[in-house]
Amino acid sequence: MKVQNNSEYCLGCGLCQVYCAAAHDGYNGNVIKAFKKGTPQARAGLIKKNHESWINTCRHCQDAPCINACITGALQKDEKGTVFIDSQRCVGCFTCVMVCPFGHIQPSRDSSRAIKCDLCRGLSGTPACVAFCPNGALRLAEEVDRP
């Protein structure tokens, strides 16, 4: 599974980032609390270019270079194929950042660890970015195995 852009309908409003940050910041998705009390940071960057915009979200590659590269075993893949970071194990070496061909994985704001999209693993239901996209520009796509 991965979050898929439909950039034809991306408004570049940035709500995906707001809700992503809130979902991962320990305040249970409460936007105001997360932004007023926490240090919210979205997992995926919103890219705007020539009137087009999209979020640079994780593709959850089958042969994920970030997992190959991780020196601590912090980057893992769960049974659903979601690539996630065990932040307890991450030492912030950013080898994963270096090898992600999409530039999706980013340092945390304090540079102490890497952060990435985990499809809101551990939270209930749809990833926050998809759930709160006001224009259906994001959707959770099941990867179909191509021949």
């Binding site: 959850h60 089958q62 994920a64 997992i67 950042v97 270096m98 980013q106």
Partner: protein, 417 residues
């Protein structure tokens, strides 16, 4: 099918995953010469610094091998008998194999300096090394680090965090010579010095005295409670050579990571790998490559044909709050483009339509795509880089790159798990 892996490290873990991706039943045996389990060498400096508990050193937890039904034997392999399909251990036991993987890694180079045998002169390569150094740490004392490669720098940082005075002695004119350009090395050196680490470049240690002194080539004697030797590593290919396998700087393998013996594969720091950029075979002791090589070797051993294209030099290191990421051919030449803003900088080397090297300091977020562009040798018009370097960001990456990544998704060359 009996699979045997010599060495319990990154490549071994990768190999187990590779074998299991194709063969759920075969018997896997790992011969763990260090008898420490599968841990990550680059993390031992964190152990030394006291910033991480030892439990976090493990690359894969013990359950991992149990889950994968891989048996781990503590013991050092001393001989391989290819004719019999047997590995002999130092305690006399032998293990039979159908398919064998050599993941014997590398060892630190010990220069032939006078006094190098002093008990307070150490390498920092294994867990055991870290434990031995731990006993020698003396707050307020001076530690001399010979060599400013990744291990040297991380050792210097760890000892500095343990409140030792640290002096780095580097034979070359700059630190991190395999990673940085002179321009970027200057910034890194300044950063180290600002943090209180003394950096002596273009200097060589001539001898180490019993009086706890390191004598340099200019005659200066530095008092030292502790000396860390970090001047390089070399592959452990004795077993292979003794078994009659072809070797060069490292064990020679084909694109399936197979040695000259069809039942023996090799992966990790012990092999010669194709450098994608130069096209030559080199020892590229890089962790990301080790895992991939192990994984692909495992696939091939289990009968699932997988090609290994080789790799490029790439490294990410951070010390004292500075994040350096660099990739590409250190010996490359071409047009150099620079960008700098405060403590951050980026340096690109462009050779015609190709990006052949980049060095980033404190701007890690942009490096993933740059690595991909370098490694996959994407054609990018030089003008695009001129635009990019004005304000490096993902959005400003060359259009050709963005188109290429979209193509991966569209044509299925990139698959999601």
């Amino acid at each position: 099918m009996r699979y045997v892996i010599i060495g319990n490290c990154i490549a071994a873990a990768g190999a187990v995953e590779g074998i299991r991706s194709a063969d759920q039943k075969g018997e896997i045996t790992i011969i763990d010469g260090e008898k420490r389990g599968c841990y990550t060498r680059p993390l031992i400096s964190y152990l030394l610094a006291g910033s991480k508990p030892s439990s976090l050193l493990y690359y894969r937890p013990e359950e991992f091998f149990a889950q994968q039904q891989a048996r781990v034997i503590a013991g050092r392999a001393v001989r391989i008998d290819p004719a019999e399909g047997q590995v002999v251990l130092e305690d006399g036991r032998s293990v039979d194999y159908d398919r064998l993987l050599l993941a014997t890694g590398a060892s630190p180079v010990i220069p032939g300096l006078p006094g190098i045998e002093q008990p307070w002169v150490k390498t920092l390569y294994t867990w055991k090394d870290a434990e031995e150094i731990e006993a020698l740490i003396e707050a307020g004392g001076t530690a001399v680090v010979l060599g400013s490669g990744l291990i040297g720098i991380k050792a210097a940082e760890a000892l500095h965090q343990r409140n030792m005075k640290v002096v780095i002695v580097e034979k070359q004119e700059q630190i991190l010579p395999r990673l940085l350009s002179p321009w970027s090395a200057t910034a890194a050196t300044r950063h180290l010095e600002e943090q209180g680490i003394q950096v002596l470049t273009g200097r060589e240690a001539m001898s180490i005295t019993e009086q706890h002194q390191v004598e340099l080539d200019n005659g200066v004697k530095i008092p030292a409670q502790l000396v860390i030797v970090a001047v390089g590593t070399r592959p452990n290919q004795a077993l292979a050579r003794d078994a009659g396998l072809e070797t060069g700087q490292g064990i020679i393998v084909n694109r399936h990571l197979q040695t000259s013996n069809p039942n023996i594969w090799a992966a990790g720091d012990v092999i010669e790998t194709r450098n994608i950029l130069s096209g030559t075979a080199e020892v590229m002791a890089l962790l990301p490559l080790a895992h991939l090589e192990g994984y692909l070797a495992g696939c091939n051993m289990a009968g699932k044909s997988a090609n290994y294209p080789g790799g490029i030099f790439l490294n990410a290191v951070h010390f004292m709050g500075m994040h350096i990421i660099a990739a590409g051919d250190p010996n490359s030449s071409g047009t150099v483009l620079n960008w700098q803003e405060g403590q951050s900088s980026l340096e690109l080397t462009i050779d015609g339509e190709y990006l052949v090297r980049y060095i980033s300091i404190n701007i890690p977020g942009i490096t993933g795509p740059l690595t991909a562009i370098t490694e996959k040798q994407m054609k990018i018009a030089a003008g695009e880089w001129q635009e990019f370097i004005k304000q490096p960001s993902i959005a400003n990456l060359p259009a050709a790159y963005l188109a290429e990544t979209r193509r991966w998704e569209d044509d299925g060359s990139l698959r999601c798990g």
